[in-house]
């Protein structure tokens, strides 16, 4: 694949990204549920795996002609199949991301970054939350700003996603030391000290899956 081809976020790439995310989260669903069991209700892994599985099934459908449509359909899959906090938020994230991407006819890395930023903004609004509260935002926000920085420095799609993945993983790791102040886990804030936030881990897994997918699956 030429560099230009690779850097076009077209329908097929979007389908591959959704599939990669679904596989990765599916493979880690037990770990995610166990993280959620510490101070939450232990269903996060099942929720995410179910929703992404459905997103994967839907994203290949013929009536999606753009990457934007694929991501929107993925978001709707979350909203149609699971509820809970993360279902609402990831659903909102993917739908907004699709919306952000949709403005460009031939979306490239900059459009992807714009889409991601729309996604984070939507999560912040729907979740009435901000980074620092031990949630998915603590992985999502740094990931998206790393993506912007890398892009602004002229990075390729691969490097944009790789830097996002690294920032997401660092962000997820940092949640271990935080006390939750949003979501169900805040009612058990002591219990979760020392444990990473499940939603932040899902974010890290998704960006890692995307970075690996774009760079030819050489990782994970």
């Amino acid at each position: 694949m030429s560099k230009v081809d690779r850097d076009l976020v077209d329908r097929d790439l979007a389908v591959r990204l959704v599939a990669a995310a679904a596989r990765r989260v599916h493979d880690h669903q037990e770990m995610l549920s166990q993280l959620d069991a510490v101070a939450g209700d232990g269903d996060h892994g099942v929720n995410m795996s179910t929703a992404l599985g459905e997103a994967d099934r839907r994203s290949g459908k013929c009536d999606h002609v753009t990457a934007a449509e694929v991501f929107k359909a993925a978001g709707s899959a979350f909203h149609d199949t699971v509820g809970g906090a993360a279902g609402a938020l990831f659903g909102a994230f993917f739908r907004a991301m699709g919306g952000g991407l949709g403005r460009s006819a031939e979306p490239g890395p900059a459009d992807l970054v714009a889409g991601l930023e729309k996604g984070v903004a939507r999560v912040t609004r729907v979740g009435r939350s901000e980074p620092g509260q031990k949630t998915m935002l603590d992985a999502m926000a740094p990931a998206v700003s790393a993506a912007r920085t890398t892009r602004e420095a002229g990075g390729t799609l691969a490097s944009v996603l790789r830097s996002a993945a690294e920032a997401a993983r660092d962000g997820a790791g940092a949640t271990a030391a935080m006390r939750p102040s949003a979501g169900r886990a805040r009612y058990a804030s002591d219990r979760s000290l020392g444990t990473e936030d499940p939603g932040a881990n899902t974010v890290a897994l998704i960006f890692e899956a995307w970075a690996d997918e774009i760079s030819g699956g050489k990782h994970g």
């Binding site: 209700d41 909203h79 509820g83 809970g84 906090a85 279902g87 609402a88 979740g127 169900r184 058990a188």
Partner: protein, 336 residues
Amino acid sequence: MSIRYRRFLNDPSRAVAEMLEGYVAAHADLISLQDGMVVRAVPKPAGRVGLVIGNGSGHEPAMIGWVGEGLFDVNVAGPIFSSPGPSAILTGIKAADRGGGVLLLVSSHAGDIMNADLAMADAEDEGIRVEMVVLYDDIASAPKDQITERRGGAGLFFVWKMVGAAAERGDSLEECAAVARRARDRSRSLSAAIGTVAHPVSGQPLGDPDDPALSVGMGVHGEPGTRLGEDVEADQIAEHMICRLIDDAELSDGDQVALLLNNAGSVTLMELSVLYRGAVSALEKRGIEVVRSWIGPYATTLDMAGFAFAICHLDEELPALYDRPARGAGFTMIGR
């Protein structure tokens, strides 16, 4: 302590769907299933306000038992302990719409609010008039100066009963929402439990099954609370919990309350009755009169060995709504 891993189910992942089928079959005179939701067998007259609630399953008879005359029009039951998603709630809003607008009553849990929010935005896009009132009453879940951070608990049954009556008699959407807020602001609850329960699908216990302490202020999903000594008797528990409720609600001599004692699952009626007796005496010795009483399973957490007290500080208008007839599969009031 007490935990039961073995359940009388088929494939646990089909438990919610099969429950809805069985429950509706047992109560076909009152409710039916429509797109996987519980709806009234006989819909409300046109023009009335529709009442909808979406909630996680595992809390039965909440809210499948609260659909019917004088209660909800539609209950959207989500997976166990998890709110349904926005699409399902949207379908519920549409089913409840009788032309008078729809009131979404949401028990304050992060997921429930977000999903309701998203559904409401979609419903408005489709031209349906929807209002949402977020309900909270559990005094253990946040301090009073952050009252909107509190969770929904057993006190919400007061709200649901009264809003149900208001909607049934023909109050407008704004009036129903105002009743909801007034009843909510006058209601408080506090829960307690020992041990925990196992999630039917994952088999995971919520919390520590070997902890022998009584935890006061435990959430409906096993979220931890304040631990009370192991030998504390029913009267002491009731006194402790009622005192905290009185303080928080700022009740005083001469006030009138409705008192509810909720069975979170496997507490015997013998224990509930003894606890109830203790609560009445704790209230009465402070000059607070119990003028309406509810005792039984309202919102359970599967077979949790726990309970909750809830009070509603009555005013002049609420008792009339409280006393109107209601007829659901899990709650019947003949009316006075």
